[in-house]
């Protein structure tokens, strides 16, 4: 089965694949996940760093016993890193891998190496 594309000819070049609808969808999905995730994680990290550098009094406010906001915030950096890692693994496995496998299988059968 040829790739769906505006013209009916089967796709054989990488440029052709790149402008195909299937690849466009994979690319779009990847961008929609990757960009906000990475920017979000970095933003969250720099928020923490800036707060620690410029607002140490806020970080020193106690939550429970000797455990203050700063320690909780630091621990949350670990939690968020682990959570994003797990989220990415699951997202890639369910939302990206099946589409990629389908497209790759077809391209490799179709002679594009």
């Amino acid at each position: 089965m040829p790739l769906h594309r505006t013209d009916p000819e089967p796709v054989v070049t990488y440029e052709g694949v790149r402008s195909s609808r299937e690849f466009g969808e994979i690319h779009r999905r990847f961008r929609r996940f990757a960009l906000p995730t990475v920017l979000g994680v970095l933003g969250w990290y720099f928020l923490y760093v800036v707060l620690a550098a410029f607002f140490p009094d806020l970080m020193a406010v106690r939550v429970v016993g000797e455990i203050n906001i700063g320690l909780c915030f630091g621990a949350l950096q670990f939690v968020s890193t682990f959570a994003v890692t797990a989220l990415y693994l699951r997202w890639a496995r369910t939302s990206l891998d099946p589409m990629v496998d389908q497209l790759r299988g077809r391209l490799e059968r179709g002679g594009l190496r």
């Binding site: 990475v38 000797e66 890692t85 891998d97």
Partner: protein, 550 residues
């Protein structure tokens, strides 16, 4: 093992613990890892075998090996020590080393595996003008690896001072020599496969030691974290100041901005470290590369959580005062804590783990530097690709020996210098010279060869120049004693004009800007066919399996 009796003969009883125990545990590690290197040497005929372990490492194994490659002695002893002396700010420092892995996982690991073969330069030249870009990437790979290498070798000298009571003179030199010869042997004989298994063994030992000590400390504190913190703070000269940020980085506006600059280098540098990225080529495909990074993240995160407890544990059980006056200062915190908790045997274990850590990291650095020289500079530039597998492997082996010698000489020369800044400098150079080009070439259609050259050389030159003219190299004086804290120890020499001790905040944005500027002002035609090939292959792995089998 002829070196060890000679070494132990010089070791005076002045040190903490029993050098014989330290040395015999370390000797056991050496024996096991030498066996591994010899076992791995069977399959090292092709470049793929030698540089990428025949792509036979599984994702989980590789994740553990990445942990072994990444967690240096500076992490194990240095960060826990920083927590023990300055509390919260040490913890703050460790977080950047972990968060950076998200960038590797989401943006870099899989495309890198799909489009490259052995080195960083492979990925860039997949779409850009080949020659000069390959050389530039190899140069920055070599610079980052050598900076990091020098820090590790000097650390080995400092460690022996601390653990065996050998200070100065030939005892330290001998240790540096032994470390240098060992890691050269692993790389020479075992190639990437041997290096990988040395790193796996080391990572397992390191994690066992860290988790064991952490539980021990928590157990001693009755599993009451709040109690541990307040007991620890009461043993510190700064009191409750150790529980909040600001002790180190909060003094002045300059030190705050310096900390932001350091954080940028740490969080963005991980994704540009050539010796870590090279590990991603040892797995069979991009999915395994993804798994590797996830495993590495779990391990590295757990490890830094342990260093937090170990640091406060050392503050509590050993006391900041004793740590600050011990030989090795901050680096002594974990060894002293281990001695306090479990006596000679536990100290011996920690000492052996620390040495194993240095050797495994150094072996990873040597193989990445020698691969880059043999594959990018010799095979790619000098021989223009007309080279047989075995010749390329032979060149890499010669290079490994040369780098090993360089590391031994450099380590001996730098052993009593203040070189702790080299690790964060390596991260800054990696974040400036490598990361922008990697990201642009993977994701930006209009990126050109000129943009890559401007970004790599601009990032490299700016980060190194700024360090040379920073207080790290000259003019930083101790406010109380007036003694110099810089690399140049003459307090009269001061040519520093850049106020920060880490160049990241300037050099990283500059390198991104230069990459953009070089590309948009270039007359070079963007090769859309090659970019299409890169993008399709990066995301879908079409044809990647065949290309990487070569």
């Amino acid at each position: 093992m002829t070196a060890f009796p000679a070494l132990s003969a010089v070791v005076a009883a002045a040190s903490v613990g029993e050098p014989a125990v330290n040395i015999s545990i370390f000797a056991a590690f050496v024996a096991v890892t030498l066996g591994i290197a010899v076992w791995a040497s069977g399959a090292n005929s092709t470049t793929t075998d030698y540089f990428a372990a025949g792509r036979s490492i599984t994702g989980r194994q590789n994740g553990v090996a990445i942990g072994g490659d990444y967690l240096s002695a500076a992490s194990f002893l240095g960060i826990a020590g920083a927590v023990a002396l300055s509390g919260y700010d040490g913890f703050l420092y460790s977080i950047g080393f972990l968060v950076g892995w998200v960038v590797v996982l989401v943006l870099i690991a899989e495309p890198l595996r799909n489009t490259g073969r052995y080195t960083l330069a492979d990925v860039l030249t997949y779409r850009l003008r080949r020659g000069p870009v390959r050389t530039a990437a190899a140069v920055s790979t070599l610079v980052v690896s050598l900076l990091y290498l020098l820090a590790q070798m000097a650390g080995a000298g400092a460690l022996v001072n601390l653990l065996l009571g050998v200070s100065g003179g030939w005892g330290q030199n001998l240790t540096i020599l032994v470390v240098g010869l060992l890691m050269t042997f692993y790389v020479l004989v075992g190639g990437m496969k041997g290096t990988t298994w040395v790193q796996i063994v080391k990572a397992v030992l390191l994690m066992i030691a860290a988790v064991l000590l952490t539980f021990w400390v928590l157990g001693s504190a009755g599993f009451n974290l709040s109690g541990l913190l307040s007991d620890a703070a009461s043993r510190s000269a700064s009191g409750n100041g150790v529980l909040r940020p600001g002790l180190v980085y909060g003094a002045t506006l300059t030190s705050k901005i310096n900390f932001i600059s350091l954080s940028m280098a740490l969080v963005l540098g991980t994704a540009g470290l050539p010796h870590v990225l090279m590990r991603l080529y040892t797995v069979p495909n991009a999915r395994e590369a993804r798994r590797s990074v996830a495993w590495a993240t779990w391990l590295i995160g757990l490890f830094y959580l342990c260093t937090l407890v170990l640091g406060f544990g050392a503050m509590w059980l050993v006391g900041s005062g004793r740590i600050a006056t011990a030989p090795g200062k901050a680096n002594a915190a974990v060894p002293l804590l281990a001695f306090q908790l479990g006596g000679t045997l536990l100290l011996g274990l920690v000492a052996a783990v620390a040495f194993a850590t240095i050797i495994a990291v150094v072996a990873g650095l040597v193989i990445s530097a020698s691969a880059s020289f043999a594959h990018d500079i010799y095979a790619g530039m000098i021989r223009k690709g007309a080279i047989e597998h075995h010749e390329e492997v032979r060149t890499a082996r010669y290079t490994a020996v040369a780098i090993g010698l360089l590391a031994i000489i450099g380590g001996i020369y730098a052993k009593n210098q203040n070189v702790a800044f080299l690790v964060s400098l390596a991260f800054a150079v990696a974040a400036s010279a490598n990361l922008p080009t990697i990201l642009y070439s993977l994701y930006w259609p209009k990126f050109t060869g000129r943009g890559a050259l401007w970004s790599i050389y601009g990032g490299l030159a700016s980060s190194i120049l700024l360090i040379v003219f920073s207080p790290v190299v000259s003019g930083k004086l101790d406010p109380h004693t007036g003694a110099s804290l810089s690399v140049i120890t003459d307090p009269g020499v001061d040519f520093a004009w850049f106020p920060l001790e880490n160049p990241g905040i300037v050099s990283i944005p500059l390198a991104f800007f230069l990459g953009w500027l070089g590309s948009v002002t270039s007359r070079e035609q963007v090769d859309t066919a090659r970019f299409a090939r890169l993008q399709v292959r990066a995301l879908t792995a079409v044809g990647a399996a065949r290309a990487s089998r070569r």
